[in-house]
C-alpha cells in the first residue's frame, strides 16, 4: 500500500487503535477486533501491521506497564497520530462519497 492509502486490514487496526484511545497494545487490539468483527486475527498479522503503521507515522508508541501474566514484559501502547486521524477522515469521506454515488435503485429490490 502507498503512503496515502490504507489497506483494509490497516484501516481496521488503525480504527481499533483509535477506539482503544491510548490503551491499545497487541493483545487487546486482537480482542477488540475479534469481539467487534467476529474475525480471527493472529498476533503476527497485528504486529506486522502495527510496525508498518508506525513506519508511516500513523501511530506512535511507548512502553507501558508490566503485569505478572505477561511474564514481566512491558506492553507497547499505541496511539493514533494527527496524520493517522487525517488519513482515517479522508478514507471515511471517500467511502461516504462512493456510497452516496450509488443510484437508489440498486438497493431498491434487495
Amino acid at each position: 500500500m502507498s503512503q496515502f492509502h490504507l489497506g483494509e486490514f490497516e484501516e481496521i487496526v488503525l480504527l481499533t487503535v483509535a477506539i482503544l484511545n491510548g490503551e491499545a497494545y497487541g493483545v487487546n487490539i486482537i480482542s477488540e477486533i475479534e469481539d467487534r468483527l467476529s474475525r480471527k486475527v493472529s498476533l503476527g498479522a497485528i504486529q506486522t501491521v502495527l510496525k508498518r503503521l508506525e513506519e508511516k507515522d500513523l501511530v506512535k508508541s511507548e512502553f507501558g506497564e508490566t503485569t505478572r501474566v505477561r511474564g514481566g514484559k512491558r506492553k507497547r501502547l499505541y496511539e493514533i497520530t494527527a496524520r493517522g486521524r487525517q488519513i482515517l477522515n479522508r478514507t471515511k469521506a471517500q467511502r461516504n462519497s462512493l456510497w452516496d454515488a450509488i443510484p437508489k435503485v440498486v438497493f431498491k429490490f434487495s
Binding site: G44, T67, R70, K73
Partner: protein, 174 residues
C-alpha cells in the same frame, strides 16, 4: 500442578527469542505470554501450548525478524544449541539415507525404491525421536541405557523383519 508445566513450550519460545528482532522482543514476548495464559484458562494447557507454537510460527516473517544480523547473536545461538541433540537427529536421518542413495550409483547390489527410503526415513526418525524423548524424560543413566536399548532393539527387529522377514508377518521382506 507443577509450575514449570504452566509455562509456554520452551523450544518454541527459544526459537522466537532467536529470530525476533531485539527491538520488538519484549513487547511481543509479553503479548505471546499473555495470550498463552488467556488460552490456558479458556481451553486448557495442552491447547494453549499448540496455539503458542502456531503463533510463534506465524510471527516468523520479515517484518518481525528485521535485519538478519541479530540472528548471529552469540547468546541466541547458545540457547538454540541447547537443542543441538534434536537438531543432530533431524540432520542425521537424511544423511544416513544418503548412504544407500550414493551406493546405488556405484553398485547394482543396492536397489532401493522410493518406498524403501520413505520407510527407512520414518523408522530412523521415529527411533531418533524416541531416544530423544527417553533422554529428556528419564534422568538416571541406567534407565536411559535400558530404554534406549529397547528402542534400538525394536528398530533393528522391525528393520530385519522388513528386510528379510524373521517373524513371517504380512510386511516381511524376502
Amino acid at each position: 500442578m507443577n509450575s514449570s508445566e504452566n509455562k509456554p513450550p520452551r523450544i518454541a519460545l527459544e526459537f522466537f527469542r532467536w529470530f525476533c528482532h531485539p527491538d520488538f522482543l519484549e513487547e511481543i514476548e509479553g503479548d505471546l505470554t499473555e495470550r498463552f495464559h488467556e488460552y490456558s484458562g479458556k481451553h486448557g494447557l495442552k491447547r494453549a501450548k499448540w496455539i503458542f507454537v502456531k503463533e510463534v510460527l506465524f510471527l516468523f516473517r520479515p517484518s518481525i525478524i528485521g535485519n538478519i544480523y541479530h540472528l548471529t547473536n552469540k547468546n541466541s545461538i547458545i540457547m538454540l544449541l541447547q537443542n543441538k541433540r534434536l537438531i543432530l537427529i533431524l540432520v542425521a536421518v537424511p544423511t544416513l539415507l544418503l548412504i544407500p542413495l550414493i551406493a546405488m550409483q556405484f553398485s547394482t547390489g543396492v536397489d532401493w525404491k522410493i518406498l524403501d527410503f520413505l520407510v527407512m526415513g520414518v523408522l530412523l526418525l521415529g527411533t531418533g525421536l524416541l531416544c530423544e524423548l527417553v533422554l529428556r524424560k528419564v534422568k538416571s543413566t541406567k534407565g536411559r541405557i535400558i530404554f534406549c536399548g529397547i528402542v534400538l532393539l525394536v528398530f533393528l527387529l522391525v528393520w530385519a523383519e522388513l528386510a528379510i522377514g524373521i517373524f513371517g508377518t504380512p510386511f516381511a521382506g524376502s
